[in-house]
């Protein structure tokens, strides 16, 4: 049972950040799906409801996604999903159920850097930036790689660069956590291949990504790229699969996603 001593609903991001850093047992409340599973005693809970961080806004060259935006909003946003071949909707669709996706939020998921995250896998394949109250704006990749630090994630920014993208996840039961996820994108000779749920957190397969951007894709080339990705990533084991199996799955999923992206051209 998680408990909250005191609740604050700050009116500015700065105030939220100040409370978070001043109180040692303070925490930001997201959708609470994961928070409630623990037995954390939160002294001061910070609710961001008053900061107008819920929703997806289209700008001339980017999408702005507030931290309190739910997965269901990502799934059903009619504008966002005309971009990137509907990548984000595809990524969040298999997650539990409609009710769950109405509850969980983008900000909490990204900030928590969950290894099993479908969303983080997909976001990494796009030109995504994270906006933090204190840390400012930085590439998602940089955020994921930096050590944990108290901060308030306020928004994501995704560049509307016309990228083609495809998403593949592999699950046994359809509403289970993925055994492996992959997202692939391609833009003017720049390829990106992301592999997640390894079960380590999602990361870019750098060499395979470079190869992807390089030249014409035929079936043999795609096999090579997939094998390259599988070879360069590290995989681990958990209840859902061994490292060895994940490596094999990686080849299949990357090939499938690359095939999809190539077909979009």
């Amino acid at each position: 049972m998680f408990t909250v001593g005191q609740l604050v609903q700050p009116d500015t991001v700065e105030e939220a950040y100040r409370i978070l850093t001043e109180k040692k047992d303070a925490a930001v409340l997201g959708g609470c799906a994961f928070l409630r599973m623990g037995s954390r005693a939160i002294g001061t809970a910070i609710d961001l409801s008053h900061l107008n961080l819920e929703g997806i806004t289209e700008h001339a060259d980017s999408f702005e996604i507030g931290a309190m935006t739910t997965f269901r909003m990502l799934e059903t946003d009619s504008v966002l999903n005309t971009f990137f071949d509907g990548l984000l909707a595809e990524a969040v669709k298999p997650i539990i159920g409609v009710q769950f996706r109405h509850a969980v939020t983008v900000g909490a998921t990204v900030f928590s850097k969950y290894g099993f995250s479908d969303l983080i896998t997909a976001l990494q394949a796009l030109d995504t930036e994270v906006e933090l109250a204190h840390g400012g704006r930085m590439a998602l990749e940089a955020f994921l790689n930096r050590p944990y630090e108290k901060d308030v994630l306020t928004r994501l920014w995704i560049r509307k660069d016309g990228r083609r993208a495809a998403y593949q996840s592999f699950r046994n039961s359809a509403s289970d956590f993925p055994i492996l996820t992959t997202a692939v994108s391609l833009l003017a000779g720049q390829g990106r291949i992301v592999v997640g749920a390894r079960p380590l957190k999602a990361a870019i397969a750098v060499q395979a990504s470079q190869e992807l951007g390089r030249m014409d894709l035929n079936s043999q080339r795609m096999d090579e790229i997939a094998a390259l990705a599988a070879g360069e990533m590290t995989f681990g084991a958990n209840m859902r699969g061994s490292a060895e199996y994940r490596r094999e799955l990686c080849k299949v999923l990357v090939k499938r996603a690359v095939t999809e992206v190539a077909a979009c051209k």
Binding site: S173, L249, V252
Partner: protein, 764 residues
């Protein structure tokens, strides 16, 4: 012409429960009930060397903290079985020895949940930690003995050798297996593993209780076994059973889980200590961690057949994991043999033997199928293997070898199988699935192959010579009826089905029957709803009670009309002298009998137990699509053709079947109770233990082929359990037929299939 039996009438309580009316245990809790929480062992095997509850007890709002020092020391079993229970009395309410991660250490009761949980954190415990027995294949002769205590008690010999961690050792055989095998032209041998599964009823375990104005303990519990729960509480608490009353409200699913009384003892202990009402609701994690699961088994099957195509030998050697306590240990194992050996009756020798062992894991218990599920996976997988070896169609092999109606049947010790439509089930199933066209495989793309497979199964209907149910039907003052039964409708619709039977006999409409179940102060005795018994055993009691009442109505009607009972007929509304206008309405008759001058309220009653447990049968067929690149098995279509005798309510029987099939699919493909090397449960939530979701199951199609069981009510047998048995072997066969990978260890995960494919490709 039947009016109600055979009709798919809606459940009598359907609208109420569907729309969320308060009807379940927690909805009915009395005011100011203390909230009970349990401190549990973090160790798989340990002895409590020190426990201090002073701080917890001193916390404001805490009413009671109980440790092993504060509770009666009388060993008992949670298994709800007819007395004398075959499950060993091997547990105490609280023990200084803890035997699995989650075993109870202390009981706390407080004014609210928050306080109770805070108190739990304040209890200090020190343990002497022992090496746990985790892997059941190492249990026999393990240096750690799970139950070293001297006061463990068995009501009769179940072959216990507790010093070797053996709960039960069994051997049943007929004929000489070795000799007959040597005569066989085809012999196959394979070892199969079935995993532990969780029942996963949606309403978790819960009970509350209070002392009534007479000082009696009233227990309200979501239980399948009110009468057994009462007896168990009386034993464990060392109090007279007459001082206990158990009431069962609506139940949110049971599947055998609620045949073990996991929570009642704790609330009862609190209420007896404090005099105050108390409630305990297990959350999902506790339900996964600290109740019971299906017994995991290893089953080695040897089959022998002759060149004429007859299966001559069935030999099964098993090992079953009962976990830390022996709930249902010997009987589940026994059933694994009992419901497999008789299926094929051209056999000359059959044998079932092996051991059930204690380990330091959550106890196993009853779960729909009760051993038959495990046995069926092993036997039917072996039969599919045998068919391949013999080069015959597995459907034909079964048609040739199954016990057929009118034939001698090992299940009845040589008696005749009075009802079976299994051959028709197989024929119909073959047509429905498209066996002729689809068997064994079709390639649908470069990477995907479809395969089909099948399995057959039997279960029982109640426990022969043991289950005894009583029923009463009362004619009320206003001319309607109250049906009193002690069975426990856990969503199956048994209350409705029993009402249909009573109404059919009495020739009245369903709404004239009020069903009451179950309250041990009021209901006639019934073991409860388990072992596929309610329709068959309680049903027969209801039919006879209704017939008894009907006869009394005729007699009283005739008396009023001043004629002999042979001269009158009852049509549900009136008792009339045949061929005349002389009549009395039921309403008038009831009024005269109950409140009027006659002074005789009519009550029909019956007590029934059956000397046989007639088997329902199913032929199950699966079509799967296997992705050769990933090993992923997609179930496209499942066909189950059921012989449950006369179908009393086709809608409810269909839903029972579909639901059971999908639980079987879960067992086949997804569900796996897993622990780490220290015995800690990993699959402790719906996030980690995946029951099938809506996207996982493809299409499930069900058909009925009726037989007529002469010992059953209106010719009915059971349907509750048999439905879960076929998916695992049928799906495993379909996977093999698709891609040549034979999975012998459930569940059939993509990784296992993939690794099998890799192995096959390096071999060829």
């Amino acid at each position: 012409m039947r009016k109600l039996v055979g009709k798919g009438v809606p459940k009598i309580d359907g609208m109420a429960i569907a729309t969320g009316k308060p009807a379940y245990t927690e909805d009915l809790v009395v005011a100011n009930a203390l909230v009970v929480k349990i401190l549990r062992s973090p160790h798989a095997f340990a002895r409590i060397t020190f426990i201090d509850v002073a701080k917890a007890a001193a916390l404001k709002g805490v009413e009671c903290v109980l440790t092993y020092q504060d509770v009666p020391k009388q060993r008992f079993t949670l298994a709800g079985q007819s007395y004398p229970e075959p499950s060993p009395y091997d547990r105490l309410i609280l023990d200084d020895m803890v035997r699995y991660v989650g075993d109870e250490v202390a009981i706390v009761a407080a004014v609210d949940e928050r306080t109770a949980l805070a108190a739990i954190d304040l209890i200090q415990v020190e343990y002497e930690i022992f090496e746990p027995v985790v892997d059941f294949e190492t249990a026999i002769g393990h240096p750690s003995v799970v139950h070293p205590e001297e006061d463990l008690h068995c009501n009769f010999d179940i072959g216990m050798k507790k010093d070797q961690n053996i709960v039960s050792s069994q051997r049943v055989e007929s004929g000489n297996v070795e000799e007959e095998l040597s005569q066989c032209d085809f012999v196959v041998e394979e070892t199969f593993y079935t995993q532990a599964n969780a029942q996963c009823m949606m309403e978790t375990y819960r009970a509350f209780n209070y002392l009534d104005h007479m000082g009696r303990l009233v227990v309200v519990s979501s239980t399948q076994v009110p009468f057994h729960a009462k007896r168990m509480l009386a034993r464990a608490l060392k109090m007279p059973a007459g001082k206990i009353r158990v009431i069962k409200p609506r139940i949110g699913g049971g599947f055998g889980g609620k045949q073990s009384s996991c929570v009642e003892i704790f609330t009862a202990a609190v209420t007896l200590k404090t005099g105050k009402p108390a409630i305990l609701v297990y959350d999902r994690e506790e339900t996964f961690t600290c109740t019971t699961s299906r017994h995991a088994m290893r089953l080695k099957v040897t089959l022998g057949a002759d060149k004429d195509g007859y299966i001559r030998v069935v030999d099964i050697h098993g090992l079953s994991d009962t976990g830390a306590y022996g709930e249902h240990a010997s009987t589940v194992f026994m059933v694994a043999g009992e419901k497999t050996l008789p299926l094929y009756n051209q056999t000359k020798a059959v044998r079932f033997m092996g051991n059930v062992v204690y380990t330091n894991k959550m106890p196993a218990g009853a779960f729909r199928g009760y051993g038959a599920t495990q046995g069926t996976f092993a036997l039917e997988s072996a039969v599919n293997l045998l068919a391949e070896k013999m080069g015959v169609d597995p459907a034909e092999l079964r048609l040739k070898n199954i016990a057929k109606e009118g034939e001698p049947f090992r299940g009845f010790k040589g008696g005749i199988l009075e009802s079976s439509a299994l051959n028709r089930c197989i024929e119909t199933g073959k047509e429905m699935i498209g066996w002729a066209v689809k068997y064994p495989r079709r390639s649908v793309s470069e990477t995907k192959v479809r395969g089909i497979g099948m399995a057959v199964t039997m279960q029982g209907s109640g426990i022969a010579n043991i289950d005894t149910a009583s029923a009463e039907v009362r004619l009320n003052d206003n001319g309607d009826f109250t049906l009193l039964v002690g069975s426990t409708d856990m969503g199956t619709g048994s209350d409705t089905i029993l009402a249909q039977m009573a109404a059919e006999v009495l020739e009245v409409s369903l709404d004239q029957i009020i069903v009451h179940a179950a309250d041990t102060d009021v209901s006639p005795f019934d073991p409860g709803s388990y072992a596929s018994s309610t329709t068959y055993v309680t049903g027969m009691a209801v039919v006879r009670a209704a017939q008894d009442l009907k006869q009394q109505i005729l007699e009283e009607g005739a008396k009023f009309l001043q004629v002999s009972p042979e001269e009158v007929a009852f049509n549900g509304h009136t008792v009339r002298m045949t061929g005349t206008d002389k009549m009395i309405s039921l309403k008038k008759l009831a009024e005269r009998l109950v409140v009027g001058p006659v002074h005789r309220q009519l009550v029909g009653n019956s007590t029934y137990g059956s000397p046989v447990s007639p088997p329902p049968f199913i032929a199950g067929f699966a079509e799967v699509e296997v992705d050769k690149e990933t090993g992923k098995v997609e179930l496209l279509d499942y066909v189950a053709v059921v012989d449950c005798g006369t179908v009393i309510n086709p809608h409810l029987a269909r839903i029972q079947t579909e639901g059971g099939i999908v639980q079987g699919i879960g067992m086949a493909l997804y569900e796996d109770v897993r622990v780490d090397s220290k015995g800690k449960l990993l699959s402790n939530s719906f996030m980690q233990y995946k029951i099938p979701c809506r996207k996982d199951i493809g299409t499930v199609r069900v058909a009925f082929k009726e037989s007529f069981e002469p010992t059953g009510p209106f010719g009915a047998k059971s349907v509750g359990e048999v439905v879960i048995n076929t998916p695992a072997p049928a799906i495993a066969a379909a996977v093999y037929n698709a891609v040549g990978v034979r999975i012998t260890q459930l569940p059939i995960t993509p990784e296992k299939v993939f690794m099998g494919l890799q192995k096959n490709s390096t071999r060829s």
